[in-house]
Structure formats: C-alpha cells, structure tokens
Subunit: 364 residues, 2 copies
Amino acid sequence: MTEHPEFAPLATVRLAVDCMGGDHGPAVTLPACRAFLDKHPQAELVLVGTAAALAQAALPRSRSVVASEVVTMDDPVEVALRRKRDSSLRVAIAQLKAGDGGAAAADACVSAGNTGALMAVARYLLKTVEGIDRPAIATVMPNARDGYTTVLDLGANVDCSPEHLLQFAVMGSALVSAVDGKEDPSVGLLNIGEEAIKGSETIKRAGELLRAAAASGQLAFHGNVEGNDIYKGTVDIVVCDGFVGNVLLKTSEGLASMLTEFIRQEFTRSALARLSGLAALGALRRFKRRVDPRRYNGAALLGLRGLVFKSHGSADAYAFEMALTRAYDAARNRLLDRVHDRIDATLAALPAAALPAAAPATAA
Amino acid sequence: MTEHPEFAPLATVRLAVDCMGGDHGPAVTLPACRAFLDKHPQAELVLVGTAAALAQAALPRSRSVVASEVVTMDDPVEVALRRKRDSSLRVAIAQLKAGDGGAAAADACVSAGNTGALMAVARYLLKTVEGIDRPAIATVMPNARDGYTTVLDLGANVDCSPEHLLQFAVMGSALVSAVDGKEDPSVGLLNIGEEAIKGSETIKRAGELLRAAAASGQLAFHGNVEGNDIYKGTVDIVVCDGFVGNVLLKTSEGLASMLTEFIRQEFTRSALARLSGLAALGALRRFKRRVDPRRYNGAALLGLRGLVFKSHGSADAYAFEMALTRAYDAARNRLLDRVHDRIDATLAALPAAALPAAAPATAA
C-alpha cells in the first residue's frame, strides 16, 4: 500500500439527493437521509425535490433546492433528457457542476431514478472524463470470503471494445481504492475459461491490454476469471461488457429470489415444517441478513466529471441509506481525482504498441 | 398440440456410453448404467472403455466395445482429435455412425469427458445437420414454477450471428418437444430489457428473425427476456450466445454454492444453531433435493448428425444416470428427426427478406 497524500480525505462531504426518485420517492429518501446524517457528522445534504415534498423535510445540515418536475420510472430517456428540464433528477446532478463562484454545490449525487434517464442526463450535463470513451456502471456483489466483488459494466454499454474494458478496469481500481482503501485491488477479466487463448477476439485483445497495463505497474491484473469467481471472491474487481454484466446481475437476482422462495416454501409446507422453521429462525435470519441485497445497494456511474450513484428503484430507507453511504465514502476519498490520476498514469505508461485505440478512432 | 405420427417413439433405444469419461470413470459410469437399465427395460447399452474397465461390467442388455485410450479431463482438444484416435470418447461417438449394414450401433451417446474434446470429436466424426452452421450446447435449469428452463448455447460459440441464434431457437424447440412432449414450447431471446429496441445490433436482428419465424408459424417466440426470467420460468427456452450462456451458468453455480455454504455455516455456528439445524433437517433436505444440480445433469450437443449428451465431469452415479435418462428420452422421441424437420420447415417458411444470411456467407 502506497501513501497517497494527494488524496487526503475531504473534511466535509456534500451529497445532492434526488428525493423524488425511485418507486417510493420522499417516503423513503427523507427517512434515509435523516438516518444517514445521524451517522455521518461530516456530511451535508442538498435535498432536491418538489416544494410539497421538501416542506416536510426539516433535516439538520441540509438545504433544499426545489425542482418542479419528476422523472418517473417509466419515462423514456428522451423525456428525461429533453422535456423535463426541471426534474429533481436533473437538478440533483446539476449540483455537481461548478457554479459562477467556481465551487460545485455538491461532491456527489444519489438518485433512485431510472437508470437509463440517470445515465443519459448525467452524461449530458457532466460529460465524460478525459481518456474515458464511455461511462460504466459498477456495483458490488457479496462473495464467499465475506467480502464483496466489484463488477462493471452493468448495462451502460452493450458492445465494448478492448480499450473500453481496459478503461473499466482502471475506473474499477480507482473505485475500490477510494471506497475500500485497497490501493492495488486485483482485476479479473470475465471470460469462459482461465486460459489466455479463450474467448472472443475482443476479450483476447482486452487481456493483452490489461497485461500491458499490469506490466507497466498501473494495474494488478489477475488474468481471466469465470462467472463463479465473482462469488468465490477470486479478485476484487471483475470487468465485462454491459450486456454480460446485466445478464449476470439479473440471473443472480432471479436465482437468489427463487432459492429464497424455495426455502420459505419448505419451512411452511406443514405444521411440523413451520415448527422446525421457528426453531431455525435464528440461523435463517442470520443467513438472510448476510445475503441481504439492500446492504449492497448503490451502483457507481464511473467515468463522468462528477460522482453519481444509483440506488435500486425499489430501495427502502435502509437500502437508500446504504447508497448514500457508498456515495459519501467515494466522495470523501476523492474517487473523481483517483479516476483522473489512474487514467492519466495508465495511458502514459502503456507502450504505444499496446494502444492502437487511436487508430480506429481517427479512421472512424 | 398437433399429433406427429412421423415421430413415433423408438421401440428400443440403444445408448453408447463412454465409460471412461469424467473425474471418476467406470467407478461411476458402470453403477449408473446398471441403475439406468433396471428402470428402462426398452434400453440397451453399448459400453465403451478399456478392456480392464469393462471386464468388471457384466450388465444385462449390454455389449462391450473395447477402446485402448482415454481422453483425460485436461487433454487439449488437439490430443483428443488427432492423437488419441482409439479413445473411449471417440469410439463411443463413432457408434452413432451408420456402419456397412446401414444401421448405426447406437441411437445416442453419453460421455462425461471434457466438453471441448467431446464437441470437437463429435463435430469431426458426425458433421453438422444441413441448415445448421454451428452446434450448440443446451442444458436445463430449475425454475420457480417447479419446472425447468432449457438454455442454449452454453459455451460452444463465443460469437454468434442472428442466424445462429435463430438456429439455436429451432434446435431448442425440437429438444423440448422431444424430451417434454411440448409441441410448441415458448422461446425467449436473452437481452438486457424486454423492449425490442434493446441490445446490440446482433440481438435486435435476431429478434427480427425470430419474429419472422413466429409469424410463419414455425416457432412460439415470446420476445426478449432478461436473466431473471430463466429462474422465473417465463419461457420454456432461453436463447443466447455461448459466451453469455457460459457466464450465466458459471455465475449461477457460484452463487448457488456460496448460498449453500452460508446456510451450512449458519446452522453450524454454535451448539444451539446445530440443534436448530437438526430440527430443520427435514425442510433443509427437501430444499436441497429440490435444487440438486444432479437432477439436471446431461447437456445436449445439438445440431450434429447424431445425438451426443454431455454429463458433468464430476457427476456421481445418480447424476450420470440422469444424463443417460435424458439421452434416452431424446433418442426415444427422435430428437434428431425433429431437429431436421423443424430446421427444414423454418428455412422454407421464412420469407427470403428475413434471411440475408446467405449474402454474407457467399460474400465471405
């Protein structure tokens, strides 16, 4: 672990909160904000919502910014982007932009609004970081080591080039170093086998770029990993394209909910089963707590000139508080500066031969 | 459901069994064969293995074919294909080829040998069916409706064209109709959203082909599905490319084994927890049986001019018996004829405009 005095933690962290987003809006976001503020004395909030919603707020260390519109969970991206220009989602993201005085109103933004709209508006308002072609969505999944594995991309990009996958690896490393304090987190490239010769041409080429970045000391590249390695905890970060990432996330959600339902059914099948379920309540509860998806709520939109975190739309107050905490940790440990720094260092260190990315780009 | 008298079940089904394949070889395959024969009076077996291994066999309704070599689980494809020309894996597959007398020695072949070798040798010896560009691997996964979902491809093809995905849908439909007796099983295209505009260009184009096939009455296309739909049981068949299929299978295995381990840990954490686990034993056992992956053992290699089934390498006797049963059901209900029939009908019924597949093929 190297010391990084240039990333000294922020003394005060200000989060902009889209209080209207998600399935439940202020009924969930405001209690979550209160619980979060209680636990984080160095945090301040910018609450963004309709005048009616914010009238009930009355939270400490917070100020309100009124927005007249709300992006619904079903609104197409175009509506969020072009029509609802005074939506809470948009105004919350706008808090990350430097004002006339030079400083931005907030260090990070959290919304439970719909993913497509959030990504599109964030990308439009904030733009991408120099050296990053496409933003990515990163989330964490629990693993068998009682830690968690960070996975990206989770749906922002359906077709990824090898260069995009390299950029995801760099951004993921910055995220884990900021949130977990691990300066050299290990990166795995999701593939259908461990051998370097496996996979599509894109994946093989991505492996070459990642090995080159590792050789120049910019990245701790472990090599190829397979789907089961996510839950084994083989590496800190798993990199894949957004199509694969979305499928593996949804498949996991589907399997977990089927298994949970099967357990419930088996413990309610008969009077005797119910009785045994009662006896097993402690163990079953500990199990449930351990894999509670709410604990892992809060996906990072990486690669933008501003920190945006996405909460699950169906989040309850506890889950939304977790998303706030994740955004707080990232902002406090200066994730944005770390991404800049790592991207610059990686691009500078990679031998020119390993980076033909510029060629197709100019040719296109 | 239409009657298909042309697919009258076979009176006798002969399976060729690679007795040497898998982690355990004859110690597992021979007891599995015995249990299988006991339950299937209309089955006959061709046992393929080394002379030493088969000397112990002595099974009813079986004959032995000696092979002098064994493909190990680590053997590269090239070794299985070019060097070990008298391997049990290869000789077992060769039983599917028509001999001088016109008839083949077996109707289907089952092996627990390594997937790459099995696919390569099967493809080399049997060739692909007319109208199929690439064979695919299909397996079933349990779903919340207490049924199962057939998923393909699971790793044979890393890059798939829209035409390949259409072919997978047709072959998957033939498989489900043969094994489950459902004449019009529903097909879902794995995507990152339900809307037809989602996904990569390949996926969108595959959706168009599938809709055209459905419009001509050749396929029951449900539309796009997401990862969680596999376990929800939304459709009978989920179609995806082999990269995505492999990742979702391995991810599911990883998650299931992590959750099982967490349950075990919670019920052994303390003396009290152990006691409650004892009380819960009935329900926990029923749960375990319900999601027992051994029950779903036996993946079909589809699109070849012969029926090959792949057992998990680590299968025990019960799991291997399940693979034998799956192969038996498929052969008995004439899966190969059904694949031929459906492929011909689909290609004939699709409007020419929907099939530009020929253009790139001739251009290439």
